[in-house]
């Protein structure tokens, strides 16, 4: 085990050396020293950076210049790294390699932004948030259109705002936005490469992507992916929605994002540090009493305390037995369909009826208000991507119905052998027809039916009450049975 860890560390160090070499070898550009004193972080920046600028689109004929994007076959990069070693960074140094904005009117060019952060306590765990704040200089920057990230990045600058911009101040905005938000960032520098033909064009940027960015991203992504609920000692609780629903608490775990979809486990962790008097708090996991369903003593205790002593149990990976509570602002919902003993999924874009005979809006109205509704659960639209998605109920093998558009979005998360077995509104909405459909496609849920013919639905307890022990056992048993069914 020690050996494996060393190798990982060694790999990391080697990569860092390579990166530094390539960084040093970049062609020389014009060097600026942007303000490092907080009072002057934004001095000289004449464009607005705020949420109201977010999501701006720049159409072709409004465009002053374009960087990256499809025309450059996405051979550009926006690369952010956390550097170890204080001496490697000269704080506030922004180097612009290639032409300035005013020299590239009407052009479309490949580019690279390479931004490096250092801090004694700064680790790669913060990378997501560092990235987010750096991007804000463009995403929430007046006149900029920003689409995609990393090596699919695509920027356009609007004609009407062009005279407010130059690369020096863009560099200043990017690193100082991050610094003002994260006092953990002590030093930052940036190189802005506009890869004109004489600077090697897209060949140059592509080389950096292949040798610097991709290995780095692969390494951090791998680590993030491998990180599961089992690796974390602490989950995070969020009571943002108690303002709507006085007894509601979310437990946010790596494999269980909250239903609102705006907070992740890592995000919650950082928020907890940054904003100690906010609404996010630590939830030590305690002892795991049910690895399949995801039930922990520490989480149960904290839920009890923070729900104002209303709920005693939460099974993290279940929507049938003791699911998490929700207020009304979820992106999607799971619902139990008694007629077929299976689960349906619906997101809020879908305006039609579900097999329960109600629309998403009505369903949301029914199950909101911070209640523990056994058989129903609000989720984030990304929750189905979790490897532990409703595992206690049988995982994907228990899902019988999803609206077509949402199903399309989830294509990669749905096991291939299940894809055609899940009905959409185009196949059927009526539960009777759904039953016939499931039989026809040999959906695994059919094996739960008596003689493969008659569904034997669960007797769900009313909201906020406990399960009858026998019935709970039966419910969990079904989940277990169906989880291991090999696809026919």
């Amino acid at each position: 085990m020690t050996k494996a860890k060393l190798t990982e560390e060694e790999e990391e160090q080697e990569q860092a050396r390579d990166r530094q070499e390539i960084w040093d070898a970049l062609p020389k550009g014009k060097v600026y020293h942007v303000p490092t004193n907080p009072d002057d972080f934004f001095t000289g920046i004449s464009y607005d950076i705020s949420p109201r600028q977010a999501g701006q689109r720049v159409r072709k004929h409004d465009m002053y210049c374009e960087l990256g994007g499809p025309k450059q076959r996405y051979s550009s990069f926006f690369f952010i790294e956390v550097v170890k070693g204080e001496d490697k960074i000269e704080d506030g140094r922004v180097e612009v390699i290639g032409p300035e904005i005013k020299e590239i009117e009407g052009q479309s060019l490949p580019f690279g932004f390479w931004i490096r952060y250092y801090g004694k306590e700064l680790t790669e765990d913060y990378l997501d948030l560092l990235t987010r704040w750096t991007y804000f200089a463009l995403e929430e920057g007046e006149g900029w259109m920003l689409l995609n990230t990393r090596d699919t990045i695509w920027l356009r600058l609007h004609k009407k705002d062009a005279d407010k911009h130059d690369f020096e101040h863009l560099g200043q905005a990017m690193i100082n936005l991050c610094k003002i938000q994260f006092p953990l960032v002590e030093k930052a520098d940036a190189k802005i490469l506009i890869a004109t033909e004489d600077l090697g064009g897209s060949k140059h940027t592509k080389g950096i992507i292949d040798n610097v960015c991709v290995p780095y991203w692969e390494r951090v992504d791998k680590r993030a992916r491998a990180f599961s609920d089992d690796d974390a000692d602490t989950f995070y609780g969020c009571t943002i929605c108690q303002t709507f629903a006085p007894s509601h608490v979310c437990a946010v775990a790596p494999d269980r994002p909250p239903y609102c979809g705006i907070i992740t486990w890592i995000g919650a962790k950082v928020m907890c540090d940054l904003d100690p008097y906010g609404y996010i708090f630590e939830m030590p996991k305690g002892e795991c009493v049910d690895p399949e369903g995801g039930e922990y003593t520490g989480i149960n205790e904290k839920i009890y305390e923070k729900s104002n002593r209303t709920y005693k149990r939460v099974v993290m990976y279940s929507s049938i037995t003791y699911p998490q509570t929700n207020c009304g602002c979820f992106e999607a919902a799971i619902f139990y369909i008694p007629d077929v003993d299976g689960l349906g999924l619906v997101d809020r874009r879908y305006g039609g009826e579900t097999p329960l005979g109600v629309t998403f809006s009505k369903l949301a109205g029914l199950i909101s208000g911070g209640q523990q509704n056994h058989g129903y659960c609000g989720i984030s639209s990304r929750t189905p991507r979790s490897r532990k998605f409703v595992r206690a109920d049988g995982g994907w093998n228990r899902i019988v119905w999803i609206p077509k558009e949402y199903k399309q979005i989830l294509t990669e998360s749905i096991p291939a052998e299940m894809f055609d077995k899940i009905a959409t509104e185009e196949d059927c909405i009526d539960p009777k027809e759904l039953k016939e459909f499931l039989k026809r496609v040999h959906h695994p849920v059919v094996t739960l039916w008596k003689d493969g013919e008659t569904p034997d639905p669960l007797n769900l307890p009313p909201p906020n009450t406990d399960w009858d022990q026998e019935e709970e056992k039966k419910a969990r048993g079904k989940g277990k049975d169906i989880l291991v069914i090999p696809p026919p």
Partner: protein
């Protein structure tokens, strides 16, 4: 023998008959839930069952079914204690009137507004019942989960058919008599009078909603509830023409005035049935103007009701159809000036014309044309509609109509002016009329600020036709032709689905500052453009902006290199959306939309549950209403209703005409508190929303005040940043410096906008005595003057983020559940 039922009056009988409803394992005694259960037991039972076990356990339920004013005193007192009414109008009384007398006047005004809306709703309902029967179903559409909430909030039921509406309206009418009695013969305290004024306001919304719902569900007005959410961004399309320049005067032109759309509806039916769509212009002014495009996309909105005279003076109509209200001048005389005929519709708008309701349309037509009658009165809408169309065609064919006044002819009239300047004195917009008499371009400039109220003409001792002069000058300068714009027709209700998106944008997140609702009748000095500029200001800053009533047509008049405002922004009720709810009665969609915002997430019942819904949205949702233009009694009632719902109202320009305000005192710390919803502990909070009904004078003041009123004590972190930035930016831009109380809304450096953070932190340190370390607040100065660390500060000031809290003792969660 005693008559049946008598026994229940005897002492003891009532107590013995407990009315218990079982919800889960919880027993609720209805006698404790409703003040007087008799006659409403079925409604109460349904609501309690719908609430469910969790809710009735959490709080002691209290239902204001078919509420009297005092049934909602629980909430009204919270408001009136925090915002004591301030009276500013003492017309023609030399001595200062007693406050309670002023409160009485305030109630009288609100009642006037209420009965205007009630009468209209009643007329419409009676007509609908005659045509469709009492059982006609009312369905707001599949996109609407919670339908008629203005009604259910007071009565406890949704109006699912016309019979329900009759019950709700009869209730409101009974309430009005009760309120009128108090308003004219009552001897009550200020608070009691104002409670009733608030009640009259709430009832006004009920009346508006009934009319609006009948329009949508019985008369096919455009209703977003019938459309899926995917269509909202461009539906209804930007295709409705606005302004006098949009009228093709080579065709017969009918202009509808007033607030009853029925004659217009039947005129359009007649037009459609005879394939006359391209042969005739159907236009409207004011309320009916905004109604027509919702059932006929060829309908044109000419101007707002208060500027109606503009249209006749410009000589646009061949036929004018008048219905009651929203018409404050002698239409017959005005029509005569331009040789147009009048069809006066209804029982309340005779205009001194002969009632010909009993005759056939063709007889009347012949009679009017042959004898050159000024017009007729008709009380049957089908007949009025058909007659208007036929008459317009006949007049056009005859081709005898007078041309517009020509400037040359008017020169002579103008020369009679002896510069007595009486016209300047009486002009509400203080235009220097007499100085412009012989200057066409100066007269044309006056046109921009003229509402054609006619006071100058009446005052002129020489009888100079001043309005004609102004109009001719404007026409000469191409101002009439240029008066041509595009807008979307009113869309009706906002759906829950849109609120789900909006919740992420303004409640959980802070991508926009909030929801800004602009309403009003639209007469104001200065440019019509101002109201559009307010809308644009907030749209550019990512707010959701809604417009309803006559102001919608003024907002439509904004255009720049990117087109009209309605073209630049989507029609969905989301951030950066510009929603047009519709004319006048559609103002009832404003509180309804906001109630939906409270229901998404909370899941409270919107039935007879006023206190809880108002308490909820008042402290959480960043919504403000801007009332721009004429301070009519109707608007007075509307403002009162909004305030009672917990929605702050900014009134302008020259908002000081409004006579009564609800202002908060930010310096009186004893006023600003909330109960922790779990422990019941009373906690000091930020002074917000600072006012509930506040006057402003200018566009800039309106924007800044609006931004300030977006603060909420229970706002979460990002929305706190958004509202603080909205206020700071507005103050800095318009007044050059920040407000004197912005620091009261800061609880963390995370709430300071990044580009301003260093500056604001420095100010906190230097001007407010806080202790700052780097980019962080180390110690904050409490309002008591004590310097304390942030943990302590957050404990002693404001509500912990996300913590359920309330202003109403009953709504503190019950102890010891489970």
């Amino acid at each position: 023998m005693e008559p049946e039922g008598f026994a229940t009056l005897r002492a003891g009988e009532k107590k013995a008959n407990k009315k218990i409803v079982k919800v889960g394992d919880c027993e609720v005694d209805l006698e404790e839930v409703v003040r007087d259960l008799r006659g409403v037991e079925d409604i109460a039972t349904d609501i309690i069952k719908e609430m469910g076990e969790r809710r009735v356990k959490q709080w002691k339920p209290k239902l204001n079914i078919l509420a009297h004013a005092s049934d909602i005193a629980e909430w009204d007192n919270v408001l009136l204690n925090r915002y004591h009414p301030l009276y500013t109008s003492i017309p023609s009384t030399p001595t200062i009137m007693e406050e309670s007398n002023q409160a009485k006047l305030s109630l009288q005004d609100t009642c006037k507004g209420l009965f205007k809306q009630l009468t209209f709703a009643r007329d419409l309902l009676e007509f609908a019942i005659k045509v469709f029967g009492r059982n006609r179903e009312i369905d707001m559409g599949s996109s609407i989960t919670y339908p008629t909430m203005n009604t259910s909030m007071l009565t406890g039921f949704y109006t699912k058919n016309l019979d329900d509406m009759d019950r709700a309206l009869s209730y409101a009418e009974t309430q009005l008599s009760e309120l009128l009695l108090a308003a004219y013969f009552g001897a009550e305290s200020v608070i009691e009078f104002e409670e009733k004024a608030l009640h009259a306001g709430a009832l006004t919304f009920l009346a508006m909603e009934i009319a609006e719902t009948i329009k949508m569900c019985c008369f096919e007005f455009f209703n977003a509830g019938n459309h899926p959410a995917t269509e909202y961004s461009d539906s209804p399309p930007v295709e409705i023409e606005v302004g006098m320049g949009a009228v093709d005067r080579t065709k017969p032109v009918i202009v509808f005035f007033g607030n009853n759309f029925l004659p217009a509806w039947f005129a359009v039916e007649h037009v459609k049935a005879n394939g006359l769509e391209d042969a005739i212009e159907i236009c409207g002014v004011g309320a009916v103007g905004h109604d027509i495009p919702r059932f006929y996309n060829g309908g044109k909105v000419l101007t707002s009701a208060v500027k109606a005279r503009k249209v006749t003076r410009a000589g646009i109509p061949d036929v004018v159809v008048a219905s009651e209200t929203c018409l404050d001048f002698d239409l017959v005389a005005e029509a005569k000036r331009v040789d147009a005929k009048v069809v006066a519709y209804g029982y309340k708008a005779g205009s001194g014309l002969e009632d010909r309701s009993d005759d056939s349309v063709d007889d009347i037509l012949k009679n009017v044309m042959e004898n050159d009658l000024p017009g007729v009165r008709i009380t049957i809408p089908e007949k009025a509609g058909e007659l208007a169309v036929k008459l317009a065609i006949a007049i056009k064919q005859k081709g005898k109509r007078k041309e517009n006044y020509l400037l040359a002819e008017l020169k002579e009239e103008a020369s009679r002016c002896n510069s007595c300047d009486l016209c300047i004195e009486v002009c509400p917009n203080k235009q220097t009329i007499s100085k412009a008499m012989d200057d066409v371009s100066a007269l044309a400039d006056i046109y921009d600020n003229c509402i054609f109220c006619g006071l100058c003409e009446r005052a002129c001792p020489e009888g100079v036709p001043i309005m004609d002069l102004i109009m001719s000058a404007a026409a000469t300068r191409g101002k009439l032709k240029g008066d041509k714009y595009l807008m979307r027709a009113g869309r009706g209700p906002m759906s829950e689905l849109e609120w789900r998106d909006l919740t992420f944008g303004i409640i959980l997140g802070g991508n926009g500052p909030g929801m800004i609702n602009i309403i009003g009748c639209g007469n104001y000095p200065g440019s019509e453009r101002e109201v559009a500029e307010i809308a644009r200001y907030f749209l550019e800053r990512n707010a959701l902006v809604t417009v309803s009533g006559c102001v919608a047509a003024d907002v439509a008049k904004y255009f720049d290199e990117n087109g009209f405002l309605f073209e630049q922004y989507i029609a969905a009720g989301v951030l950066k959306g510009l929603v047009n709810f519709g004319g006048c009665t559609a103002i009832s969609h404003v509180p309804a939309a906001i109630y939906r915002g409270a229901l998404v997430g909370s899941g409270y019942t919107p039935k007879a549950n006023w206190t809880q819904i108002a308490d909820y949205l008042y402290a959480r949702l960043p919504v403000v209403v801007i009332m721009w233009g004429a301070a009519t009694e109707e608007m007075y009632a509307v403002a009162s209703g909004l305030v009672r719902s917990g929605i702050p109202v900014v009134i302008g320009p020259s908002g000081f005409k409004f006579k009564r305000y609800f202002l908060g005192d930010k310096d009186d710390r004893s006023k600003w508190w909330m109960y922790d919803g779990v422990t019941g502990e009373k906690k000091e909070v930020e002074p917000c929303p600072m006012h509930m009904l506040v006057p402003v004078d200018t566009k800039e003041e309106a924007i800044a005040m609006c931004a300030k009123l977006l603060h909420r004590p229970l706002a979460l972190r990002d929305p706190r940043l958004a509202s603080l930035e909205a206020e700071n930016e507005a103050y800095k831009n318009f007044f050059g410096e920040y407000s004197d109380d912005w620091h009261l809304y800061v609880r963390s450096e995370q709430e300071l906008h990044v580009m301003r953070r260093a500056e604001l932190l420095r100010k906190l340190g230097q001007e407010h005595g806080w202790e700052i370390e780097g980019m962080k607040i180390k110690r904050a100065k409490h309002r008591s003057g004590e310097l304390m660390d942030m943990q302590e500060y957050n404990k002693r000031y404001g509500i912990q983020l996300g913590r359920y809290s309330t202003l109403v003792p009953r709504l503190i969660t019950r102890k010891g559940i489970k």
